[in-house]
């Protein structure tokens, strides 16, 4: 029986476990299904304790999709906030460490968004969807490791990378995952074309500039980075209008 089925309460599993396991055999779960099952298991625990379902508020769209929509908007907003803080910080030559702390929140929101929005793409492109999901998932872990260890200074921490570089590497993985997701999405339509284009074009340009392959240290580099990043953030924000 799938690990995901085991997350459900024993009494629930006894009644529905076998058939749910068969459904998961018929349709191997993607990120959307995993998120949906996690919420389902939580709901089953609450429901069996008399805490779930009795609420009177009606919610039209299944929880996983609603969360994904909110998360996509949140990730776009947090990204733009991060860019704004970075620009203010660099223009005013002031330290704004909060800017870097915003990035993990952005990345977490992005992960939730991609899990929720991946449902239909997963049927046609399971490997690409898992890759686009796991890249930012790994990125988040690396990024958080970098952020948490920032106070240790610039000394190499892991594999010759300082905390700052770890954070940047995590960010790049997140952006690369977003780009893969957006490209796959162009064929399947989970994001609007405008949103997918913003993410698909903005993410790689931002990565190129982050790794220093773009125009070097000039005003142009800054302008391109900001434009690409805003395109990336707006891409996720546009999602909310669909």
């Amino acid at each position: 029986m799938s690990v995901l089925v085991r997350l459900y309460p024993a009494a629930w599993r006894e009644r529905y476990g076998d058939e749910l396991a068969v459904v998961l055999e018929d349709r191997p779960p993607g990120p959307f299904d995993v998120a949906d099952l996690l919420l389902g298991a939580l709901d089953a625990h609450l429901y069996l304790r008399g805490l779930g379902n009795r609420s009177n508020h009606r919610k039209g769209i299944p929880m996983s999709l609603r969360l994904a929509g909110y998360a996509a908007v949140a990730s776009g907003l947090f990204w733009i906030l991060f860019i704004a803080l970075a620009v203010i910080s660099s223009a005013g030559d002031v330290e704004l460490p909060v800017g870097f702390l915003v990035v993990p929140v952005f990345a977490l929101a992005l992960l939730v968004a991609m899990a929720g929005l991946s449902a239909f793409q997963f049927r046609d492109h399971p490997r690409w969807i898992w890759l686009s999901f796991l890249a930012p998932a790994a990125g988040i872990l690396i990024m958080i490791a970098g952020v948490v260890t920032l106070p240790l200074g610039d000394d190499p921490l892991v594999a010759g990378l300082s905390p700052w570089y770890l954070g940047t590497l995590g960010l790049m993985l997140t952006l690369i995952g977003s780009c893969i997701f957006a490209v796959v999405t162009i064929a399947t339509g989970a994001l609007s074309r405008t949103a997918a284009a913003g993410v698909a074009i903005g993410a790689p340009i931002t990565v190129i500039i982050l790794v220093g392959l773009g125009p070097d240290g000039s005003l142009l580099a800054g302008a391109v980075a900001v434009a690409a990043s805003i395109g990336f953030g707006l891409g996720w924000l546009t999602r909310c209008r669909k």
Partner: protein, 108 residues
């Protein structure tokens, strides 16, 4: 629950409605319901949502499980479920008609 009405299932109200509509075609097992709902609405239904809604529908007697076939257990609409669904769809249809009428008036 009032006779002839789908009980308040909170956030599972819409998935439950979609499942009931899917079962009007005849008994279906979980995977068949999911694919039917997805084809009909263009929106995904995850397995967690499906079984949370199915469990509630079964508890309220709106659907009933049949004997499993190859480990796949089909569900069918009960008479109570059919009546509740008819009531709900009629109410939705009336609501949609009013909404469309108002839109026409607004445009005119």
């Amino acid at each position: 629950m009032d006779k002839g009405q789908i009980p308040d299932l909170g956030r599972f109200a819409e998935p439950a409605l979609l499942i009931l509509v899917s079962l009007t075609e005849g008994p279906k097992h979980g995977y068949a319901i999911m694919t039917d709902v997805e084809a009909g609405t263009g929106r995904p239904m995850g397995p967690g949502t499906l079984y949370a809604a199915l469990a509630r529908l079964e508890e309220h007697g709106l659907v009933e499980p049949l004997a499993p076939v190859d480990r796949r257990r089909p569900y069918r609409l009960t008479a109570v479920g059919a009546s509740a669904l008819r009531e709900q769809l009629t109410a939705l249809s009336a609501f949609a008609t009013v909404g469309l009428q108002r839109l026409t008036e607004m445009a005119g």
